[in-house]
């Protein structure tokens, strides 16, 4: 399969901070890849390098085998960025039309509006849109050129549940049509639903690169949930082989690499345990333990 995106030993330094510290990554045509990592991990910088919005300090970035700033490469990509803006005084349909004119074989305007759920807003000025509608507009601008590759940096931030579901459906349809999709997201369920490959980035390096089930399998951790009264204190928690995920009144949710020893200690200390549940970690928890860097590091 042809390679769409390539980062070769890419490094990017901003002053004293090295945001990307040697990333090698190749994404083939038709792949749907999610970049995951905590804030400041280097996801956005990596996408910027792929798109030629940033120049690598060393190493190389290629897009469709070309320099990422080449117009021929950009004409085959649709991009949705965080914290970018558009003029406030064009109507939604007008700005979609303008962006369509940048691409050689764009989708019809009505179809773009329908796919991004903006048909009702076609005549609204962009400056009057709500946060979620704005995000849908950026999605519309990303897909309007009927791109072969779609880059989405935190696409569903600010969208409500319905809008998110709609966008996930549209992205799935694009993926089914053989498009290459690279996205970053904080919503791990979104990555799990969409991506067939997850690249976990932390502190500017790739710490895992596999399918969602493989990522989950790499984490030995189990999620241990139970209720207890009186509520578990921080002092007790600190002595347990577990990380606190959530505490809601009497209910606690822990992540542990040694669930048997954890339960043994709880019983030994006479902590009453009700409604016990021990299950395999889901993607979010896998992610926490991967990036926290202890039990899951291979």
């Amino acid at each position: 399969m042809a390679t769409v995106v390539e980062l070769i030993a890419a490094r990017k330094r901003f002053g004293n901070v090295e945001a990307v510290r040697g990333v090698d990554l190749a994404i083939a045509a038709g792949e749907v890849v999610a970049l995951l990592g905590p804030n400041g991990a280097g996801k956005t910088t990596s996408i910027s390098l792929m798109l030629g919005l940033r120049q690598p300090t060393s190493g190389e970035a290629r897009l469709f085998g070309l320099s990422p700033s080449d117009r021929r490469a950009r004409s085959r990509c649709g991009v949705m960025l965080q914290e970018s803006g558009v003029t406030a005084v064009l109507r939604v349909a007008e700005i979609v039309d303008l962006f369509r004119s940048y691409y050689p074989a764009p989708l019809p305007t009505e179809r773009v509006l329908a796919l991004s759920g903006l048909t009702d807003k076609a005549a609204s000025f962009t400056g009057r849109l709500s946060g979620g509608e704005r995000q849908r507009l950026y999605f519309a601008l990303a897909i309007c050129g009927d791109p072969e590759a779609l880059f989405l940096d935190e696409p569903s931030v600010g969208m409500d549940v319905t809008a998110r579901r709609g966008m996930v459906e549209t992205i799935r349809a694009f993926a089914a049509a053989g498009k290459t999709i690279v996205l970053t997201t904080h919503y791990l369920d979104e990555a799990d639903q969409l991506a067939r490959r997850i690249v976990v980035i932390d502190h500017g390096v790739v710490i895992a690169d596999a399918s969602p089930p493989q990522i989950k399998a790499r984490v030995a951790s189990k999620r241990v949930s139970f209720s207890t009264t009186p509520p578990l204190t921080d002092d007790v928690l600190r002595t347990l082989p577990a990380r606190l995920l959530e505490r809601d009144g009497a209910r606690v949710r822990l992540l542990s690499g040694e669930p048997e020893r954890l339960l043994h200690l709880l019983f030994e200390r006479g902590v009453p345990v009700h409604e016990l549940e021990v299950v395999g970690a889901d993607l979010e928890e896998a992610f926490i333990s991967l990036t926290s860097g202890q039990e899951a590091r291979p």
Binding site: R71, L90, G145
Partner: protein, 261 residues
């Protein structure tokens, strides 16, 4: 414009669509039209109409002279405000970030803005001269008006440079104030609002150093004013264009490095 490249939109088509969009965007900003299309006419009504039918000792029309002055004021104003305030706003809204990821080359985007500013300059000149002719009864051969307009459009480069310099140096809150603080006193001190011989001595001493003074000379010269040779005006304007565009380019490059380096 260049040889066609497979799989991309031809540059001429991109430029046309982008220019039409920029014109529409400007049209929808009432403050821009008020300042650049209405204000020069209002100023002419105050300063020009009362003297429209007078003549200088050498027989030249005072009304036409003042019309040329406000023509220079109007085109300079379009350039300084369109680029000064427009660029400051677009930078603050991070409009350049998303555009940079599209196949629209930054040079085409810039050229579309310059063409748009020239279109608005033409509209502003047509309104102003039309007002002078119809309301003020100022008459000159059509060729003379065309010469005034062409000289003002061609000589506007220093003001494009000044606009960019302000737009790249200042944020959207400071840019309008800075543009006004520079452009209004400079126009006044160049004799665009009142003849220089009615202004204080120190202003008369400063005027020949200002770009708008030499800019207005282009238009006055087209009406036969004997004050400055055309080549001298052109040299001064070229010097200011190099200075302002050079400073603007330096600021622009620094920002490019920070944003896209």
């Amino acid at each position: 414009m260049s040889t066609p490249v497979a799989g991309v939109v031809p540059l001429a088509g991109l430029l046309l669509r982008q220019t039409l969009a920029e014109i529409r965007i400007r049209r929808r900003i009432p403050a821009f039209s008020a300042v650049n299309l209405a204000l020069p006419v209002v100023f002419y009504a105050f300063f020009g109409l009362p003297v429209a039918q007078r003549t200088f000792a050498d027989g030249r029309s005072v009304g036409a002279h003042v019309l040329a002055s406000f023509g220079a004021y109007a085109v300079g104003s379009v350039m300084v405000y369109a680029f000064g305030i427009g660029v400051a706003n677009e930078r603050a809204m991070r409009i350049d970030l998303l555009l940079r990821a599209t196949p629209l080359p930054p040079a085409v985007h810039l050229l579309a803005k310059i063409i748009t500013a020239l279109v608005y300059s033409c509209i502003s000149l047509a309104l102003l001269i039309g007002f002078g002719v119809l309301v003020g009864g100022v008459h000159q051969p059509v060729g003379v008006w065309l010469s005034v307009a062409l000289r003002l459009l061609a000589g506007s480069l220093p003001f494009i440079g000044l606009g960019f310099l302000i737009g790249y140096r200042y944020g959207p809150n400071a840019a309008p104030a800075v543009a006004n603080l520079i452009y209004l006193p400079m126009s006044f001190a160049s004799g665009l609002f009142m003849p220089l011989d009615q202004l204080p001595g120190f202003v008369r001493a400063v005027a020949p150093w200002l770009p708008s003074y030499h800019y207005a000379q282009l238009a006055w010269n087209a009406l036969g004013a004997p004050t400055e040779r055309l080549a001298v005006s052109v040299l001064w304007l070229a010097g200011y264009a190099v200075l302002f565009l050079g400073l603007a380019l330096r600021t622009y490059r620094r920002e490019e490095d920070r944003k896209f380096g």
